[in-house]
Amino acid sequence: MIQIRFHGRGGQGAQIASRLLADAAFLEGKDVQSYPFFGVERRGAPVTAFTKIDSRPIRDKSMIYEPDFVVVMDPSLITAIDVTAGLKPEGMILVNADTLPEEIMQVLGDAKVVLVDASAIATAHGLGSKENPIVNTAILGAFARLSKVVGLDAVKQAIDQNVPRKVDKNKDAAIEAWTLVEEKEGSE
């Protein structure tokens, strides 16, 4: 089973990102589960969401404690909560950021960290405002490319089927993030 934990702030779309990832994996024939942890829901509060993906039926209803991947949609969460909690040794953290100061990187420890500026991509595609960009589809595109958990076609189809507004802009944001990661990997 592949387990992904999303950390975001209320309004960023962590729950939707977790859902879209599940939808994309389901389209590729996997069994899935997507589960938001509801705390005190208000704009700006830390939000956690989980996605489980497996080729066998998923029966475990508990939360994710040992993720294979962690997606951090707001870097300010890194000093607020322990986003690395339980991350598997070979696990990976995707952070929505252009760069991170050294002291923040140290908080993330030995884990493999990948940075993608999903906020800039979302803003460029008119998703949310500059102050509050809705980064779920951009971060999903980047995550799909990095993790190889789902393909780009499935991501696009999941957006088509489940995103109610600005469908093309959301798909374009996902594609741009995917391509950015692909280019980054190519240049390494």
């Binding site: 859902r19 599940a22 899935v32 998923i58 029966r59 209803k61 508990s62």
Partner: protein, 397 residues
Amino acid sequence: MKKVITGNKATAYGVKVCRPKVIAAYPITPQTTIVEYIADFIADGSLESKFVKVESEHSAMAACIAAQNTGVRTFTATSAHGLALMHEMLHWAAAARTPVVMVNANRAMGPPWSIWADHLDSISQRDTGWIQTYCENSQEILDTIIMSYKIAENRKVMLPALLNEDAFYLTHTAEAVDIPDQELVDEFLPDFEPRYKIDTEEPFGFGSLVMPDNYYEFRYNIARAMEASKELTREAVQEFAELFGRDYHGLIEEYRTDDAEFILMGMGTLVSTARDAIDELRDEGHKVGLVKVRSFRPFPLEEMRDLASRIKSIAIMERVYAFGNRGPLFNEVCGAVYNSGHRPFLKNYIIGIGGRDVRVQDVKNVYLDLLKETEGADDGIPEEELNWYGLVGPGGD
């Protein structure tokens, strides 16, 4: 058609294919989206039904009862404090023999305020005369709605049915769910045709005063109807399996109990998690199986006695405590097996109260404790009959 949807959306689809004519509801977390999705179906024309917005859950149930009395199928959904507010009308629905079907999102009762999974809300309605079923996944909720209408509306039963889904674990968790074809549901579920209904051409009295000469027999009839629903449930489950290809086994489901000496028993989503625990324990060589209690009312008395005749030791896991005397399921099992002539070792584990997460390892720990207790007890009586699993500290004075 398979879709990735939440338990609440699966519930709405389950209701839609049963075509109730009246839906009355009042919002409460985490149930609210159920009736919002149903309202969407009515708005887009895919469900022909009257949606009655009411000022409280008490009124929601009253509206459903009144609509049922005119001879139509109804639905409502609620949770926790909403269900508690309905309490008077729950008695009324059962005693008036109106087969209302309701989904309850199992949520903890406050205070302290909580919106997470707990079974105290529905267990508190045990004696109202409602059929009570507990579901472990979203597919089961959808399918059980269809079966519940069929069982509840049978003229031998004519009792309301309460379906329970754990808050958030089901209500807000998205999973792949198969939405059955309307034609197939129509084949399985006949139209609702009650023997008595409000009809100006053929007037009857409803809910009038009766003298002690008669009241007693009205109660006996409810007891008899509840008993009759057991066999009808077993039949409905079988017919459903043949038509839809999904088998819910009956009032209980046994999982890997062949040659089992030990079983873990529970209701709701922790059963789903426990399946993974059982598989791991079996791989490790333990003779342990799982029993899901689907039907809490009527209680599966015969099934429990059968288990007692072949199982050495049973852990009863519950997301609820009956203040003053053990967990309610534990008490029911004790009562059921006492006159069976068999005496399995029974131990009660209170677990997952108020949405405390239940992990695979927690279920395995319950089994390991049961194993240790059973082997340590030479007289077949547990040293500690009750275990509050996973308390993080003692309470204050």
